[in-house]
Symmetry: C2
Subunit: 411 residues, 2 copies
């Protein structure tokens, strides 16, 4: 017997028939003798409607009221799934965030989970009841409903799995696992059986849309084994043990580590270059301090060697924040000759815990790109990844070349 937390997103619970299908997947785990808690999102479209009501009433509205309104979507789904399970003869009950409780901080609209008190749910599960939990929500320190921000249901599921000491957290999604790279672009992409938390975290924050970054952080912190599975593969709703998903787990659980586990890319990048910046102490702080204060997330930063007392500074930010970034730089009157921008760039990253102990990973990347005549604008590295900024038109070419260069192509 194992204790499993399952999570189903908005598309999987989009209507009554789909909720019934989710109930079948819960039943498959019950039939294996497992204890189950299920975390659900709102039925697809419901959250958007509720958010639209708030915006129509007042574009700038009280985040506490927004939370009270928007959190109802998940409450409806959890009740409906409990009814569907009961209809199949499975004992079940719904739990709203405040009932468990899932205690969050007071950052309404984008709250972080502070603590989940697992006692009541564990007791209920031990009595044989499936716990159907409304995702995305909690109880703030002010005694009011809070929400975790979009995608928060993944985080609810992982945090709940930690709180009830679950053996596994199964995230059902619209992909059937984590791939070595985007299979829509690289036909030879392979699904990974296992990936480490660290690699998944880099992959999540680098634009792979499989899991929310925060949920992976949570899983890594609490060592929750997370399995990514497709909710659409089989109408017979087999148990997770029969589905070929990807397990996100501790490095030690992976026997055959690959040097590089995947190639990620992100198109949401814009490059800003400040030329002729006077090269004196404090100049970087003068540029990036105001950007940080304006809550603009700066990613890659490069500063060239100075000559003639001036230097060039290049950084990247999200495309949607580019205009705001330029306004900030103008407002603080950054001393430079020129500010150039480029929105036709893409960030490509190779990720792998194996590169910690192997030299030459970056060199393989640079050579593979050079062989295809692809110019690198900016480079940044971390312990387990190397990222480069290249022209957007080279995205497909670069992904395929790197996938082959690191020996990731399917046989």
């Amino acid at each position: 017997m194992a204790r499993i937390v399952q999570k189903f997103g908005g598309t999987s619970v989009g209507d009554i028939a789909r909720i019934r299908n989710v109930a079948k997947r819960v039943k498959a785990e019950i039939d294996q003798g497992n204890e189950v808690a299920v975390v659900v999102s709102a039925m697809s479209g419901v959250t958007n409607q509720l958010v639209a009501y708030c915006n129509e009433m007042a574009p700038l509205h009280d985040a506490r009221e927004y939370d009270a309104i928007v959190a109802t979507g998940e409450q409806v789904t959890s009740g409906l799934l409990a009814i569907a399970l009961q209809e199949m003869g499975i004992s079940a009950r719904s739990w709203a965030g405040w009932q468990i409780p899932i205690i969050t901080d007071d950052a309404h609209g984008k709250a972080r989970i502070a603590e989940i008190k697992g006692d009541a749910i564990i007791a209920s599960m031990k009595q044989g009841h499936v716990a159907v939990v409304a995702g995305f929500q909690g109880l703030g320190p002010d005694g009011r409903v809070s929400t975790l921000g979009r995608g928060g249901s993944d985080t609810t599921a992982v945090a709940l799995a930690a709180a009830v000491k679950a053996d596994r957290c199964d995230i059902y999604t619209d992909v059937d696992g984590v791939y070595t790279t985007d299979p829509r672009i690289v036909k030879t992409a392979r699904k990974l059986n296992k990936i480490t938390y660290e690699e998944m975290l880099e992959s999540a924050s680098l634009g792979a849309k499989v899991l929310q970054t925060r949920s992976v952080e949570m899983a890594m912190k609490h060592r929750v084994r997370v399995q990514v599975l497709s909710s659409f593969t089989d109408e017979n709703a087999p148990p997770a043990s029969a589905l070929p998903g990807t397990l996100v787990c501790d490095e030690e659980e992976i026997v055959e580590k690959e040097l590089v586990s995947g190639i990620a890319y992100s198109r949401d990048e814009a490059k800003v270059t400040l030329t002729g910046v006077s090269d004196r102490p404090g100049i970087a702080a003068g540029v990036f301090g105001p950007l940080s204060e304006a809550n603009i997330n700066v990613d890659m930063i490069v500063q060239n060697t100075s000559h003639d007392g001036t230097t060039d500074i290049t950084f990247t930010c999200s495309r949607t924040e580019l205009d705001r970034a330029l306004k900030v730089l103008k407002d603080v009157k950054v001393e430079c000759k020129e500010i150039a921008t480029d929105k036709s760039v893409v960030k490509v990253s190779v990720i792998g815990v194996g590169m910690r102990s192997h030299a030459g990973v970056a060199q393989t990347m640079f050579k593979a790109l050079a062989d295809k005549g692809i110019n690198i604008h900016v480079i940044s590295t971390s312990e387990i990844k190397v990222s480069v900024l290249i022209g957007e038109e080279y995205t497909e070419l670069a992904l395929r070349a790197l996938h082959t260069a690191y020996g990731l192509d399917a046989a």
Copy 2:
């Protein structure tokens, strides 16, 4: 300064524009220097949609899950009204039933309010915040959301008014007050300025759809002054003090009591006559015991004098329950010659606390009906009302004749 509880139903909060209009009415009371709590229903149509989901998932479903699902409708409205008020510069916050808390019994789906803890809401109102309360819901002894059954928002408002010691509870509805009789039938019907709890209770349970019976019982028990007002009369949203509604209050607050305050009628009546019933002790119990066990509400009962050792028993019940009542009588094999039914009947009642001290009220009724050639099938009386069952085709004729006979016609 007064403390006011306002209640708005589903039509009054049917869309964003109407919720804004409700906010104006709240503001009108605030501008008078009053402290305000507002109770709201779900946006019209929302509750029906949620109930439909439950029924589609399983016709017989767990009432606790039904409650968790259906109660979300009022939670959305309360949040939206709080936002609308804030947008007008009025401090406000929403309250779900569990937050106050409104404590109910465990009869999920049709719970009764056991207690409202008013402390938190009073403290919030004293700090200058309008309390926007989700109607129709509470917290059961099992820690789960309960609902009060349809129309429960009236009861929430009255109970809340009692808990916060409000000076008045204003129920905004689709009629502009309580009339001496149905103005659609009797053109000379007058709106009453005041009516006693006792009269309103008889009137409510006799088919006048203005207030829910349970809310009037609650008001009478706690001596809450309830004002019935139209939510549609004026786009300028004047304060309640400028609106000509009807106040439901203690008898002592009404200086000029009328002998009869109103003529009510109910078409939802069916008559059942058992002829040739053997007249021996226990026969009535043999008929009405099984009906009561089957939860069939029997209203008027008449047993004629016995002759030849047999008697006739006549009773009335709701038309929708007639078939079930007949089945019960058949199943228990009631000993009688024949069972006759009549669905073409209407119950007409004259109501007035004044009749306690005045003889001849019933006689005036019988004479007025006889003068019009209307035959009376069954008669029943209570301290403050006289009801007769007559042929349905005489409804309008009887109402007009009685309205005139008791001097109720508008000048």
